[in-house]
Symmetry: D2
Subunit: 422 residues, 4 copies
Amino acid sequence: MPDPVRSTVSPSQQSELADRFAKVRALSLDLAAPLSDADATVQSMADASPTKWHLAHTTWFFETFVLRDHVAGYALHDDRFPFLFNSYYEAEGRRHARDRRGMVTRPSLDEVRAYRAHVDAAVLAALPDLSADAHALVALGCHHEEQHQELLVTDILHMFSENPLEPAMWPAARKVPVEMPGAIGWIANDGGIVEVGHRGDGFAFDCEGPRHQALLAPHAIADRTVTNGEWAAFIADGGYTEARYWLADGWAWVKAEGIVAPLYWEEGESGWTRFGLDGRRAIDPAAPVTHVSFFEADAYAAWAGARLPTEFEWEAAAASHDAGGGNQMDVAGPVEPRPSTGGPGFFGDVWEWTGSAYRPYPGFVAAAGAVGEYNGKFMTSQFILRGGSCATPRGHARASYRNFFYPHQRWQFTGVRLAKDI
Amino acid sequence: MPDPVRSTVSPSQQSELADRFAKVRALSLDLAAPLSDADATVQSMADASPTKWHLAHTTWFFETFVLRDHVAGYALHDDRFPFLFNSYYEAEGRRHARDRRGMVTRPSLDEVRAYRAHVDAAVLAALPDLSADAHALVALGCHHEEQHQELLVTDILHMFSENPLEPAMWPAARKVPVEMPGAIGWIANDGGIVEVGHRGDGFAFDCEGPRHQALLAPHAIADRTVTNGEWAAFIADGGYTEARYWLADGWAWVKAEGIVAPLYWEEGESGWTRFGLDGRRAIDPAAPVTHVSFFEADAYAAWAGARLPTEFEWEAAAASHDAGGGNQMDVAGPVEPRPSTGGPGFFGDVWEWTGSAYRPYPGFVAAAGAVGEYNGKFMTSQFILRGGSCATPRGHARASYRNFFYPHQRWQFTGVRLAKDI
Amino acid sequence: MPDPVRSTVSPSQQSELADRFAKVRALSLDLAAPLSDADATVQSMADASPTKWHLAHTTWFFETFVLRDHVAGYALHDDRFPFLFNSYYEAEGRRHARDRRGMVTRPSLDEVRAYRAHVDAAVLAALPDLSADAHALVALGCHHEEQHQELLVTDILHMFSENPLEPAMWPAARKVPVEMPGAIGWIANDGGIVEVGHRGDGFAFDCEGPRHQALLAPHAIADRTVTNGEWAAFIADGGYTEARYWLADGWAWVKAEGIVAPLYWEEGESGWTRFGLDGRRAIDPAAPVTHVSFFEADAYAAWAGARLPTEFEWEAAAASHDAGGGNQMDVAGPVEPRPSTGGPGFFGDVWEWTGSAYRPYPGFVAAAGAVGEYNGKFMTSQFILRGGSCATPRGHARASYRNFFYPHQRWQFTGVRLAKDI
Amino acid sequence: MPDPVRSTVSPSQQSELADRFAKVRALSLDLAAPLSDADATVQSMADASPTKWHLAHTTWFFETFVLRDHVAGYALHDDRFPFLFNSYYEAEGRRHARDRRGMVTRPSLDEVRAYRAHVDAAVLAALPDLSADAHALVALGCHHEEQHQELLVTDILHMFSENPLEPAMWPAARKVPVEMPGAIGWIANDGGIVEVGHRGDGFAFDCEGPRHQALLAPHAIADRTVTNGEWAAFIADGGYTEARYWLADGWAWVKAEGIVAPLYWEEGESGWTRFGLDGRRAIDPAAPVTHVSFFEADAYAAWAGARLPTEFEWEAAAASHDAGGGNQMDVAGPVEPRPSTGGPGFFGDVWEWTGSAYRPYPGFVAAAGAVGEYNGKFMTSQFILRGGSCATPRGHARASYRNFFYPHQRWQFTGVRLAKDI
């Protein structure tokens, strides 16, 4: 998941910053509202973090890079917190081991909420006098926190999935019956040079630039993502038992981990179920499949006689669509991918695996200092995902946005859109 | 740690059982009183369990073996709990993986307290009509719970030690200055046949019998345990860096784990400190060393020109001492080994590693059914400890009591008493 | 390392095939000539294979895909060999576990030589009557064997490095004194569309095509590779101790494995030495550094204020150079990177890490059947290397050749060429 | 496996020492005679060593402790060999990692034979002038080498078992038809004090003393070991699938390793086969079962309603039997357990697991210096085996002999004799 580095704050954004800050900070608390102190403390795997840690780490970010660095006389809320709540910034010194974050029963959730309140008040009080650079860091912090809001939701889902009781975080939303989607439609592209990367207006993370030209080969890209129903057919057709569909590393992963279906799926007497934020329920065959790894996505594409799109094919197709539309997270509640209705959409529901490795764009240079550690240092062995999911806070997605995970990871809301050569 | 199997309930004990049950059950809650829901939920390593699990598992024991099996019409408080709170009884069916106990944020600590209240009321209501067998199971459950009280304390200590903030569970007790203990005195024994094992009056775990004869060689046993000050001298003399003091497996453990001192010790500018239930403080050179493994105990003895006592040498020496004396746990609070005063004592402060492997006595037969799984199946590769510690509930210790752990384990209050051949 | 799939055999190549076959087959035996049966049997790590296995596997390739499939009535030399000597072709059935190849003390090296002689005779006898398809498979088998010749050399080097006696495989070649290379010169490129991939004349592996257009950004590429002397300066300047130069995965690898220098380097009283096919000797500061991983290459580039070239930048620069020139393997003997003399060269000495992940070209489709498993299934999490090394048989390299390894691997002759944005 | 420490060489033994030395040294070479250089080099697991290492290590023992320490002016055959061929003597300095012994392709088997010839000549030349102490060390070295002869045989068997071709080391011996053994007979013992441990006449390892009194409980011990046929019945009755027969650690081992039968057994269409030094053949139902772990032995005993004998019960029963009788190794060849004929025997065929942990006898003190590392430092977490096997050189066994292995190990010729309380 990218962390933010460079930002350009336009004048019109400056007046909105206080409102935006307040709104972003409130959503994090709303997301944590159904959780007990214990729920917010436990870490279910090294890849995931406790809710309390997300709440505190995003606060540490503002306290460190805004208040400590730009507000004269600011005293740390608790000088033991930087050690606990720094994530991976080597330049910011020693920090608690990532896989032991779940040992921190104290401070409590309430104490972390008090930490948030203290820092929120200090940031809002300081805002009128902050330099443009510091304003940019506040904006950066908001985007950073939105990233952690999505992680908070997916990490909590994983933690509850490890409890044999499989508790629901929220009651289920009412399901609206929809028709099954028809066959995939293909959007053809004759190839040629396109412009990709962030345009320079509005916020973007450093890894989205510089904007540059890319050369596309002739291809077609699907007008929707793969559904649960289609995935069930893949399973039924031996998708997880035939080596020929799989990358060699993927096949080794399937064998070693005993993978037979997407994460959180279980087969019962009445068919496949999935665990979600509203507990365990039957899969919806019309909804986009999610919680699949790059390895699974690639194998599905091979089975389907297609391939994954490159990140630039995806970006070219998505550029004319509204990044603020689709099924994204507006409020705290049981987000999940929903059956698509209407025409093609490229944003929301599921992050879409591309066939592109996460590598720097031509001319990319990491920012100086600790914030320069956000993105560049992760550019190896990970794959790009595009589009945003049902757990992405609305407003966070962009056509140029580059999300990234290792090819075996699948606890995010990750899905599949097909492409093919023409 | 032994789990109980066989018991003989004398008439006089029957009238005391309700009182004892209430007292034991209350102490567990007292021990958990300073803990938050999160504190009580987190599991810091596979060897340890969450407080909430201890509180629920001991309750499950009464619910299963007393209420379910001996009280007609009893309905389980929650039929999902047996899966969660069975420990290792294969005969009782599937159960939650031991190393994932820390994932159970729900039920909450309050819900577990409600589970306890429900079962407590049911047991007390049923008690007057229970058969002798069921009475014996209630008594067994009390002893079982006392074992878990000690584990609860040592597991919580370990969990807090993993928090970089090193929180104290209780405020420190007032320290009473004492003189440094003098040189070890040696209690000589000319050897010969002695009777060992439980006598048959009062409660004992199955592994403590049958009582039988054992042949002792001439030997002497120390009149006190090794102190922190003596241990610091062992460290300063290269105790952890000279292979010749160590068993081969112990030396491999020291190298692989980077062991340089007892668990929870850290070297600072003012010397060694230790982490305890009252936080981090300087070691007390006059107090018994604790949190050392069998490997360390054996190496210390080699360095000191002595050896560990056998379990029967220990039992023979301890038989004439009051098992209810010494520094054992009377109430919830910051228990820790204390400097010894007065004459030789064999009970309390620290469990004492012996050189005896945990194996069955002549004629030992495990009980039938699930309770038969308590002790016999652990009789391999573990070593016997004797005497009881500062965290052993007073009344739980006996001269015949056989505690056992693997030779590398040291998160219990484990210490060292020397012996030698004469 | 790529395995071959598709080939187009021109008429002129057909007449040379018997000669080429004989020459390739002879070089493998020459490489193994200094080895004892034991040398040829032992496997030093899962990534490497025994010499005997290389000799037998390349033979199995001809026996299976040429003789079994295209020569009526051919009987297998030994029907137990396919299980032993298939490498990773799932379609060819079960096979011996890769990491247990070193257990096969029997058949002996002499028996494997007999297997080779049997198959060689059968292939040469069959050649006049073989179809064009089968001819193509013979040609493919020769390229395949050349790949294994390089692996044979690097695997043996690794195996000898694990012997505390550090035996030399061959006596050292005479060193010719040379001047130290001057500062790196930069070859500028204004960017734009270039053609990359195999042209279609002559042999190539499937992953080298289809030939297609690629868009380059303006950049400059170094006119030589990084030297041992420059690498020693990187080490002396804290290259392996400063996290900021490293990708996060690379830094974790450095810490976990205790990496402080290239593979086979040791620091002695007189400075750095390296282990090579001629034993342990002082490093030559003027020679190209080798046995560095992608992680190290990337960190070096960050330290040097540069970056690695993309595979297409490299291919564009190398296209006008003679792929048959430079320091490549002509005969069996102590190959090693040598100080460069003369103008820029892009072939030989060391494989050069690029910053490009190994992924398919637009329009790539794997061949049908078992040979289709050669390349496509490895296209994840590996990085492209270009150019060929001192252990690459001369004639095997091409500008379009795509070698690939995981970012932590470094037992091949792998080195670094810098690039930068302009 | 014990290594020797203390010895008392009687005058009569002194005159036989040269003959004995020559005979012992010859047998090792005879055992290695069928092996190629590669066979003798490969190491199949960390617990096992290559044949070449056994041949060299036993030679190093004489060279170090006899020639280097007691023969003025002796120059080491090769001063790089001590690093390679020291086993675990910390006092003798650094040594090659145990699990990398299989990397040493050079020196070759012939060079190791030359090393042996050199040392043999030097020892024989020095013998007339050696002190009594040095004589004792030569005798010790012979016993030490006999131990390694048994390991050589079992290690080679394991190595060949890892080769999919399953080569036979020797042709099969002719099988003599025998009747199935009848039901086990029980030898009763009323208990009481017995003398155990080495008497002091003749050679013994240090851990066999001091001789001392032990107290036995009333018991009975079987007059023969468990057979393959009986073991097959245990398997058929669910022996490996019922947790209740197993120690907890044993059950975890069965589950983790997928254990379903003794090592080297495979189930085919015609029933169980086993791999042995003569290749794969049907099991002989009348022969003693072998290659079972302590965990399996203990589970079998639980299933059979019996238990394992203590080491002193075994020693008391065996004391009146001829330690030189039974099926032990006389010459190099395909040793294996054979159906018993005649009355009860306690020596040969299989080492018999006892229920006794390997711990020191009262008064045990390790010898000073490097040889003191032989036995004492292994006295933890291992179990005693008694009696000797078909691969024990005849003359090596004694009633007081204490062999020891970890409870999961089973590549030695290990079997089961039952006992029970009466």
